[in-house]
């Protein structure tokens, strides 16, 4: 058994064949992850006790001859913005460095109900704000493929544990590309499902209308299985969808022959060859699988970044108000008045990027500016969504790059927030439109850095997206 390369079917096969028990696998997975973690800093917290208890339940089911669930015995990491009962959940922020939630996120409940084993909590950018995982209050994550480089962000830890082999799969969250970009940087599969497909209950809100929980894995099939386990209506999230959840994993084998794929021209203009060549090579493979490829246009793309940073910061400014030192989290010890308590607790507790976004968001919502910024951004968001709706009248899926460039060096862009924001150009549109999108590995640059290809489909067409990605993966042979 090579623990660093296991897939979900291999875990379940090993358990059924009694090559190992769930407790043995979990014990070894925890040992390995803890030994390897100093290289990348991908885990912030290990939840040994909870993991071993979950493993014991799986073993008991096996012994009783019961179904162990689609994730039975599978070691999983959960991004630290998703709350876990009795397990510290910091959002990689100083202000929550001591916070232990009294409840589980719906995704966590469902993951464990399907037999999943949570090894621990994955590092990320503070409150999921960032594109490099350098904004964590507990130190950056290193890219397991090239340790001097960033793993991408904000779900850098969730991508790194999968690439490093210290979890079989993981959960991340995506608001503007925070799953797909790190997946592409680390060479693994990362999926942002349709908005509302997975309950946000227990996902610490960054930008509520854009936040998604989604899976990371080394194979497309494993992401399909993980998404299938956590997706579906949740009465605790008013924005969760009632749409039925298909058996994604069972549909992977269906042919992709005759599917129409669109290449949005706005996403390829000026793309550097080191990335562009890999994407076009991927498109060739899809053509060989029988897909028809045409060029399409998403004409409002150029407004996406401005739109995104108005809407997301506006929502940030309200969502992060609850972190005020009054009821939980870290309270500054220096304060004599209520106003000082707020200012000092928030001033000391939040990092630079979080403060920047709170200020931007407070500004765009302030009296007299609302119409010019927030309201206009919502209108543009509708136009961007219509671009996709029109495109999907012509094609079944869109193929684009995930990031304009591969993983950059730690520290390289940290002082240039605008450059950092621009790196989200290809991913934020999918979030703004709320459509499913994913990154699937499509080889490496000449320097050996992973490149991800993005597949986008219309709302709730995850099955088409997974099928394309799976057939491509088989034909292209690019697995982490």
């Amino acid at each position: 058994m090579n623990i660093a390369k296991l897939t979900i079917p291999e875990v379940q096969d090993g358990l059924r064949r009694k090559q190992f028990t769930a407790v043995e696998l979990t014990t070894e997975a925890l040992r390995f992850a803890q030994a390897e973690n100093p290289k990348t800093n991908a885990y912030l917290t290990f939840s040994d006790e909870r993991a071993l208890a979950a493993a014991a339940r799986v073993d008991a089911k096996l012994a009783a001859g019961e179904q162990i669930g689609s994730l039975g015995g599978v070691p999983i990491a959960v991004k630290d913005v998703i709350v876990t009962k009795d397990v510290k959940t910091t959002c990689a922020s100083k202000i929550l460095s001591n916070y232990i939630p009294p409840y589980d996120a719906t995704a966590v409940e469902r993951l464990e109900a399907a037999g999943g084993i949570i090894l621990g909590k994955a590092n990320c950018d503070e409150f999921a704000m960032g594109s490099s995982n350098e904004n964590s209050a507990f130190g950056p994550v290193r890219n397991p493929v090239a340790l001097d480089r960033v793993p991408g962000g904000s779900s850098g830890g969730s991508a790194a544990v999968v690439a490093q082999g210290t979890a079989v799969v993981s959960l991340g969250s995506d608001t503007g590309g925070s799953i797909r970009q790190p997946a592409s940087f680390c060479g693994c599969v990362g999926v942002t499902p349709t908005y509302g497909r997975v309950s946000r209950y227990g996902l610490v809100a960054f930008a509520s209308s854009l936040d998604h929980i989604g899976p990371f894995s080394r194979t497309v099939a494993d992401s399909a299985t993980l998404l299938g386990a956590i997706a579906g209506r949740d009465e605790r999230d008013a924005t969760s969808a009632r749409h039925p959840v298909p058996d994604y994993a069972a549909l992977l084998g269906d042919s992709v022959k005759g599917l129409k794929l669109g290449l949005p021209k706005e996403y390829f203009a000026g793309l550097a060859p080191e990335t562009g060549d890999r994407i076009m090579a991927g498109v060739e493979i899809l053509k060989q699988l029988g897909c028809e490829v045409t060029e399409v246009s998403l004409p409002h793309t150029e407004y996406a970044i401005a739109t995104y940073y108005i809407i997301c910061t506006a929502e940030v400014s309200a969502n992060l108000s609850r972190f005020d030192g009054a009821r939980y989290g870290v309270r500054s010890s220096k304060s004599d008045t209520l106003s000082d308590m707020y200012k000092n607790s928030r001033g000391e507790g939040f990092g630079t990027e979080v403060k920047r976004r709170i200020m931007l968001g407070s500004y765009v919502l302030s009296h007299g500016y609302y119409d010019a910024f927030y309201l206009k951004a919502q209108k543009v968001r509708n136009l961007l969504t219509q671009d996709f709706t029109k495109a999907f009248e012509q094609v079944d899926a869109l193929i684009t790059p995930v990031s304009p460039f591969p993983a950059f060096k730690i520290g390289e862009k940290v002082n240039d927030p605008i450059q950092m924001y621009l790196s989200d150009i290809y991913t934020i549109t999918g979030d703004l439109a709320g459509i499913p999108c994913m990154s699937v590995p499509c080889g490496t640059t000449p320097d050996g850095l992973p490149v991800g290809m993005q597949i986008l489909t219309k709302h709730f067409a995850e099955d088409v997206m997974f099928r394309l990605a799976h057939q491509y993966e088989k034909a292209g042979g690019f697995t982490a």
């Binding site: 227990g202 809100a205 108000s321 609850r322 972190f323 009054a326 009821r327 302030s366 609302y370």
Partner: protein, 479 residues
């Protein structure tokens, strides 16, 4: 003061009578141990999400209908951002540009005149928790926060600036209260904080078209405080204007101990609430069909009931007003009226004797020891001549004290009216025999003395004699 006119608009906040909170299923019960009726949602814990309760929307819509408002087909929740320790999310979930209901009104009666007060809007929102500043041994250094109230469903009712006196304001506030109580939307128990209001008060010269600069007095939780606060503001603002100053736009607090308002924050310090649509909730859609059902299920509202009391029972306007002052009173009266043959008499007993006894006892009508049916029975006994009015008045306090029916008390105390001529003639003969002087005066032409003789007979009979019969017998015997 005489040359000025006050302009008042009220924002009334009422707690909806749901058993659970607006965005989670925690109970709204009053008086629980601090921070026990709470969950991740109403504690505003990281990751928790609100889910709108259908029951709250139903009650909110009923309230809006009771206030003659148009419930909107679509309304949208919005976040109202401000910091306070008992506001756990750092924002209140309210409604802003798309409220639940618009354009209503209520008629108020002041000094014998009826006036229509416009209602701009009704919107829904969640309540904050409570900051406790005293009662703990270290209260001089710490404020405690109780979040049991957090997430309690409220409606805010915003009036047009149509109110022109403190009395009108009090009457309007009371009419709102009655409408909500009658519609079973809110218990409106002011002691439990179910109902409070903010008053926007400004002064202008009589005849002026433009409004003056207003001050907003926050959190008035009784009719008396509302009246006092408005009157204090009127004097304060007139004083400023008369001395050549300018009233500044600000938020003020009422100090009930001093009967004064004090400045809380100026316009410059006013919160910028940075409203934006609540992304965690989807818009509220209300179908015409559902509204029709809702209207059909609603109880009769006070103004309609008042009109019916006048038309159906022939009550005087004044009595109808008092009897519809609360739903309990109106229900009680109607039970009494139905149990008797004379609704007007029922009204007299409820408004008069019963109200007096209750007041002396510090009780409200639901706590009345006299069941409404007993009042009906009492009236029937009077109508059939079994009890005299005087006896009835005597029995009533006993009904109140014991809870027994009037016939049981009359039976027990032997207090039946004597209309039997034979029995009465005997008493009359005795009285004539023992009062020769008065008999002589009567025969001498001073007929008014018969009243004295009737009184003697009544006394002799311990009030049980039927006075009309006594009168007739006496007149016959003294011919």
């Amino acid at each position: 003061m005489a040359k000025y006119e006050v302009v008042i608009g009220l924002e009334v906040h009422a707690q909806l009578s749901t058993r659970t909170k607006i965005f989670c299923s925690c109970p709204t019960s009053f008086g629980a141990q601090p921070n026990t009726n709470v969950c991740p949602v109403c504690l505003g814990l990281p990751g928790a999400l609100p889910v709108l309760s259908r029951g709250a929307v139903e009650l909110g819509a009923k309230g809006a209908i009771a206030l003659n408002c148009a419930v909107q087909p679509e309304s949208v929740f919005a976040r109202k951002n401000y910091f306070y320790p008992d506001l756990p999310k750092g924002y209140q979930i309210s409604q802003f540009d798309k409220p639940l209901a618009l354009a209503g009104h209520l008629d108020v009666h002041v000094n014998g005149e009826t006036k229509r007060i416009g209602i701009t809007r009704v919107h829904m929102e969640d309540d904050a928790g409570k900051s406790v500043h005293d009662g703990f041994k270290d209260s001089d250094r710490f404020t405690y926060v109780d979040l049991n109230r957090s997430g309690t469903p409220l409606i805010e009712i915003v009036s047009e600036p149509d109110i022109r006196s403190s009395d009108e304001a009090v009457e309007y506030f009371n009419e709102v209260r009655q409408a909500l109580v009658f519609a079973e939307v809110s218990a409106c128990d002011m002691e439990k904080g179910h109902l409070r209001c903010d008053a926007n008060v400004s002064m202008r010269l009589k005849g002026a078209e433009k409004f003056g600069t207003r001050a907003e007095v926050k959190n008035l939780n009784s009719f008396r405080f509302l009246k006092q606060a408005i009157e204090y503001e009127m004097e304060r603002q007139v004083e400023i204007l008369e001395s050549g100053g300018r009233v500044i736009q600000e938020t003020r607090l009422f100090n009930p101990d001093l009967g004064e308002t004090i400045s809380m924050r100026s316009k410059e310090e006013a919160h910028d609430y940075r409203y934006f649509p609540e992304p965690d909730l989807i818009p509220v859609h209300v179908s015409q069909e559902w509204l029709t059902q809702l209207k059909a299920s609603m109880p009769e509202l006070p103004q309609a009931r008042r009109a019916r009391f006048i038309n159906e029972y022939g009550l005087r306007d004044y009595d109808a007003q008092i009897l519809t002052s609360s739903r309990d009173t109106a229900d009680y009266f109607e039970r009494a009226a139905r149990a008797s043959s004379d609704p007007k008499q029922a009204a007299n007993w409820v408004v008069g004797d019963l109200a007096g006894l209750l007041k002396a006892d510090g009780k409200e009508i639901p706590e009345s020891p006299i069941p409404a049916e007993h009042i009906g029975e009492l009236i029937t006994l009077i109508t059939t001549g079994e009890l005299s009015g005087k006896l009835a008045k005597e029995i009533f306090p006993k009904m109140y004290a014991t809870g027994d029916s009037p016939s049981v008390i009359a039976e027990r105390e032997g207090l039946k009216q004597i209309s039997d001529t034979g029995a009465l003639e005997k008493i009359v003969d005795e009285i004539i025999a023992s009062n020769p002087k008065q008999v002589e005066q009567y025969k001498g032409g001073k007929t008014t003395v018969i009243g004295f003789l009737v009184g003697q007979v009544m006394k002799q009979s311990r009030g049980q004699a039927n006075p009309a019969t006594v009168n007739a017998i006496l007149a016959e015997k003294l011919k």
